[in-house]
C-alpha cells in the first residue's frame, strides 16, 4: 500500500464560542467531523464556518504560514492553524480536540482575541533598525552573509503570538515583554547596522525584561517558524554582560554567582549563591532556610563538598572565560 494514501477518521471537536457583544460567559459547541490526513487545523475552522455555523469567527489571511493571523490553541497548545496538520494534532491529543483562542481571557469573538498587549510590548522594544543611514545613499548598505547569520533567523518571526500566549511568565506578570518581543529585540540588537543606545538595557530591566524568563522552553516548543525564542533571550542575557549594560542586581548576580561558586568548589554552593545574589535581602529566606536546616537540607560552609580535580576546573575557568562583570 502506498504511504500516500489519504486516510479519514472521526474527530470530536469542542469549540470555544463567545461574542463579547452578547454573551455574558463563553461556552463550548461540539462538532463531530471526518478529518482526512491531509487537512490542517485551518481547514477545520473553515469547515465549521462553512458547513456548520456561518457566525463562527476567526482570523485568517495568507494560508501559507507567513501572515501570522490564524494562531489559536489546540488542546491548550499554541498552534498556527494554517501550518499544523490535523494528523500531528491527533497524534498528540487523540480524537478529542479542543479549539480555543490564544487567550480565552482576551477573547472578543470565538477565536478572535484582542492582541493589544502583544503589540504594545512588541512596539516598546523598538523593533526596527536604528541607524545613521543616509536617506539617499550612494551605495547599498551591505551586510555580509557572516553578519547576517548572527540574526539566527530571528528575522523570520511572523508575530503570530503563539509563543507570547504560551509563556507562563506573561500570564502571571503583565509587565513581562514575552518571548516574541525579545526575539524582535534580539533581531535588531544582532544587526551590525543598528546603533540604538537603549534597547538592550530596556529589555534587561527587572520585572519586564529577559531576567524574568522562567526557562520553561514553551516558546521554543510552539514556535511555528522554529525561531527558538528562548535562545534569543539567552543571547540577550549574554549581550548585556558583553556590552556592559548589565546592571548589578539580584538577577545578574544570580548568573555571575555560578561562576564564583564553581571557581571555588567546582560545584554550586547553594547558600553562597543565595547570599551573593540577594545581599542583605537574604533575611527573607531565613524562615524557609530554618525549616530546611531542621530536615538536613542545608550544608554548612565549612562542610561544602568540592569537585575532585578542582584545579582542572579552575584552570579551564582561567583559560576559557570570555566575559567580565
Amino acid at each position: 500500500m502506498s504511504t500516500n494514501t489519504i486516510t479519514t477518521q472521526k474527530v470530536n471537536f469542542k469549540v470555544f464560542r463567545f461574542n463579547a457583544d452578547n454573551d455574558y460567559l463563553p461556552y463550548y459547541e461540539n462538532y463531530t467531523m471526518d478529518v482526512t490526513s491531509e487537512e490542517v487545523v485551518l481547514d477545520i475552522l473553515n469547515r465549521i464556518k462553512w458547513d456548520h455555523d456561518g457566525s463562527f469567527s476567526y482570523r485568517r489571511s495568507c494560508r501559507h504560514g507567513i501572515c501570522g493571523a490564524c494562531a489559536i490553541k489546540v488542546n491548550g497548545r499554541s498552534t498556527l492553524a494554517c501550518k499544523e496538520s490535523m494528523t500531528t494534532m491527533i497524534e498528540y491529543f487523540g480524537n478529542e480536540i479542543t479549539l480555543e483562542p490564544l487567550s480565552t481571557k482576551r477573547a472578543i469573538k470565538d477565536m478572535i482575541i484582542d492582541k493589544a498587549d502583544f503589540w504594545e510590548k512588541h512596539a516598546s522594544v523598538t523593533p526596527y533598525l536604528v541607524a545613521d543611514i543616509d536617506e539617499c545613499p550612494s551605495c547599498e548598505n551591505l551586510v555580509s552573509p557572516h553578519d547576517a547569520e548572527e540574526l539566527n533567523e530571528a528575522d523570520l518571526c511572523i508575530q503570530c503570538g503563539a509563543c507570547h500566549y504560551a509563556c507562563p511568565a506573561v500570564e502571571i506578570n503583565s509587565d513581562f515583554f514575552g518571548p516574541a518581543a525579545f526575539a524582535a529585540a534580539y533581531r535588531f540588537e544582532a544587526d551590525v547596522r543598528d546603533n540604538d543606545a537603549n534597547r538592550l538595557s530596556y529589555v534587561n530591566e527587572e520585572k519586564q525584561g529577559v531576567w524574568d524568563c522562567v526557562k520553561c522552553y514553551e516558546c521554543a516548543e510552539v514556535c511555528p517558524k522554529d525561531i527558538n525564542p528562548i535562545d534569543k533571550i539567552t543571547k540577550l542575557h549574554q549581550m548585556a554582560f558583553k556590552k556592559g549594560v548589565a546592571k548589578n542586581n539580584v538577577a545578574t548576580r544570580h548568573a555571575v554567582g555560578f561562576l564564583h561558586s564553581i571557581k571555588k568548589h567546582g560545584l554550586l554552593d547553594e547558600g553562597g549563591l543565595v547570599l551573593y545574589s540577594e545581599g542583605p535581602s537574604i533575611v527573607k529566606h531565613i524562615p524557609v532556610a530554618l525549616q530546611m536546616f531542621k530536615k538536613g537540607k542545608i550544608v554548612m560552609p565549612w562542610n561544602m563538598p568540592k569537585s575532585d580535580k578542582l584545579d582542572e576546573i579552575q584552570k579551564l575557568i582561567k583559560s576559557s572565560s570570555t566575559v567580565k562583570f
Binding site: N173, W211, V214, E221, S277, K295, V299, E312, I313, I317
Partner: protein, 293 residues
C-alpha cells in the same frame, strides 16, 4: 540481561539540599543491580544561569564532565532535569558543530582531556524505563503503592525542547502529553493522576529575581494535583522537588489558597515499591512531611 552500568552525574543539589535524592538513587540502583560510577570530578552544569553569563565557558565545563563519562566508556546518567538539559544541549551543540567542538577541545587539551561525543546523556528516569524496563520493575514490586493516587510532575527540562529529548532518549515523549512518569507510577502499583499542570513549569529558575511568578507557578501545580485527588506528587527533578516541597507557604500566599502535598522524588517512589525502607530513601529529609507511608 547484562548488568547495567552508568557514569553518574549527581549535580549539585544531591550533595546539598536534596540529600534524599542521592540516597534514593543509590538505593534504587542497588535494588535493580545497576552499577553507578560517580563522576566525582564533575563540576556544576551551570544550571542555565552560567549559560546566561558565559556561553563558551559553560560549554567547556560541561564538555569536561561528559569527557569523564567517555573515559569510563559509559553512558552518563543525570538525576536532575536541568543537568540533563545543559549536558545534553552541550553534547548536541558540539556534535553538530565541528568548529565549536575543536575550540572546546583546544581548551580541554590543557588538562589532558578530549570531548569525543561517544557517551550518551540520559536521565535516570529513562534509564529505568528504556534500559531496565518497566515490565521488569513491575515484576519486582513487593509493596505496590495501590492505595495512592500519585500526580506526576514532569519538569520542563526533561521534556522540552522535545528535539533534544528525542535525541537523547529511546522513549519519545510528547511534550503536551508526556507518559513516562505516568507509566512508572502505574508500574509501581499506584493510580496516576491526570491534571493540567503536570507538564508545566515550577518556577524554580526565577525564585530569586521574580519570586511572585515562581510562587504562583508552584502553587498552581500543587493546586492542580490536589483538585484531581492526588495524595502526593512525584517528580524526576530535584529543583522542582525543592519548589514543591519547601516553598508551599509562599505558593499558598501567592495563589490565595492553602496548598501542600507530599512530594516524592521519582527514585523514592520506585524505591518504596521495591521494598526499600523510608529511612533508606531519605523521606525524613522532606520539609512537607511524607508520614503516611
Amino acid at each position: 540481561m547484562k548488568k547495567l552500568k552508568y557514569a553518574l552525574f549527581t549535580g549539585c543539589t544531591a550533595k546539598q539540599s536534596t540529600p534524599e535524592q542521592m540516597m534514593s538513587t543509590m538505593a534504587v540502583a542497588r535494588k535493580l543491580d545497576i552499577e553507578m560510577i560517580e563522576l566525582t570530578e564533575a563540576s556544576c552544569c551551570g544550571a542555565s544561569h552560567l549559560q546566561d553569563y558565559d556561553d563558551f565557558l559553560s560549554l567547556v565545563l560541561n564538555a569536561r564532565n561528559i569527557a569523564y563519562a567517555e573515559k569510563h566508556g559509559l553512558t552518563m546518567v543525570t538525576i536532575c532535569n536541568t543537568c540533563q538539559l545543559n549536558t545534553a544541549m552541550t553534547k548536541h551543540r558540539l556534535d553538530n558543530n565541528a568548529d565549536l567542538k575543536a575550540k572546546v577541545n583546544e581548551k580541554l587539551a590543557e588538562i589532558g582531556l578530549e570531548y569525543k561525543g561517544t557517551s550518551n546523556v540520559i536521565h535516570f528516569l529513562y534509564a529505568i524505563i528504556d534500559d531496565f524496563g518497566l515490565d521488569k520493575i513491575k515484576e519486582m514490586v513487593v509493596k505496590p503503592l495501590s492505595q495512592f493516587n500519585i500526580a506526576p510532575f514532569y519538569g520542563c527540562h526533561n521534556i522540552r525542547p522535545s528535539e533534544l529529548h528525542n535525541e537523547s532518549h529511546k522513549t519519545k515523549e510528547n511534550p503536551y502529553n508526556p507518559t513516562s512518569l505516568d507509566d512508572l507510577i502505574i508500574a509501581c502499583g499506584a493510580k496516576n493522576v491526570d491534571y493540567e499542570e503536570k507538564n508545566k513549569c515550577c518556577g524554580f529558575h526565577v525564585e530569586l529575581q521574580a519570586p511572585h511568578t515562581a510562587a504562583v507557578l508552584t502553587g498552581n501545580a500543587i493546586a492542580g494535583a490536589t483538585d484531581q485527588n492526588a495524595d502526593m506528587m512525584v517528580t524526576p527533578c530535584p529543583l522542582c522537588h525543592l519548589k514543591l516541597d519547601t516553598q508551599t507557604k509562599h505558593a499558598s500566599e501567592a495563589i490565595g489558597r492553602e496548598v501542600s502535598l507530599p512530594v516524592l522524588h521519582m527514585q523514592q517512589m520506585v524505591g518504596l515499591a521495591l521494598g526499600c525502607t523510608p529511612a533508606e530513601l531519605g523521606l525524613q529529609h522532606h520539609v512537607t512531611d511524607v508520614n503516611f507511608i
